[in-house]
């Protein structure tokens, strides 16, 4: 190919380059955490675990298996913990894999809570997996995940 032809081909190919517009992170990232990686489920998870392992169990995430629309989906997350001064749940993170900002919320609890159970309502951008990650007072991470079929998306504009 001539230089001119190659140049023209490159010019045509230019708009096809992947342009990634990144949404703002839902919460301020911790120092040293890149705000951009917070917008992928993997990055969100890395930001929470910081290299520590997590195991399935102890956490129970309850979500409807089918949601009529994604604007408001009820959720209950509970963790099997005595919630005593020596053994309690420190935090619970909720991650929705396909949301523009996967980190939905972080809840901080303490022994004063008495019971590690939280109920709320989510916005879901389509059929996806939602995970709840709990960190106990000993630093260990536990998780549970649930799949939700969403018939009508919450944010059609965001795509």
């Amino acid at each position: 190919m001539s230089t001119r032809r190659r140049f023209l081909a490159a010019l045509v190919a230019l708009p096809a380059l992947p342009r990634r517009t990144l949404a703002q992170p839902s919460v301020n990232p911790a120092p040293g955490v890149d705000a951009r990686i917070l917008n992928t489920p993997q990055g969100t998870l890395e930001g929470i675990l910081k290299g520590a392992p997590m195991r399935k169990g102890r956490v129970r995430l309850e979500l409807p298996s089918v949601a009529e629309n994604g604007h408001s989906v009820g959720l209950t997350v509970s963790v099997d913990s005595p919630m005593s001064d020596a053994n309690y749940v420190r935090r619970i993170d909720l991650i929705a894999d396909k949301n523009p900002v996967p980190l939905v919320a972080t809840f901080f609890l303490g022994p004063e809570s008495g019971r590690a159970e939280i109920e709320s309502r989510l916005r879901l951008n389509g059929t996806q997996r939602v995970s709840a990650i709990a960190q106990l007072s000993d630093g260990s991470f536990w998780f549970d995940a649930a799949d939700v079929v969403v018939n009508e998306l919450a944010c059609l504009d965001a795509g």
Partner: protein, 105 residues
């Protein structure tokens, strides 16, 4: 902003009480466009702190993934008579608070 908090009025010492809170707020995602094609800026209640007995007993950091008019239900161990107070602040720095008194016997 209107908000409602529900806490049992009376409790036994050591009893675990249920706290329900709902706040009227659009929880704007920042991904919506109005009729003129302008982006509606993101505005969410990003932090909610609940205080009881002089300590912060519960904190929620939320994003646009929480549905409009955020609802939260959580639990607290009744220690002494006092106010369970929740304060929150949104992206436009508008804050609000709502509290309920619980009598512990």
């Amino acid at each position: 902003m209107t908000a409602r908090i529900q806490v049992p009025r009376k409790a036994q010492r050591g009893e675990i009480v249920e706290v329900r809170i709902v706040i009227q707020h659009p929880m704007e995602t920042g991904f919506r466009y109005d009729a003129l094609g302008r982006r509606t800026p993101r505005n969410v209640i990003h932090t909610l702190v609940c205080r009881y007995g002089g300590v912060d007993v519960f904190r929620a950091e939320m994003g646009a993934g929480i549905a409009a008019n955020p609802f939260l239900k959580f639990f607290l161990r009744a220690q002494e008579s006092g106010t369970i107070e929740c304060r929150w602040v949104d992206s436009e720095n508008v804050s609000g608070s709502v509290g309920a008194r619980v009598t512990v016997s």
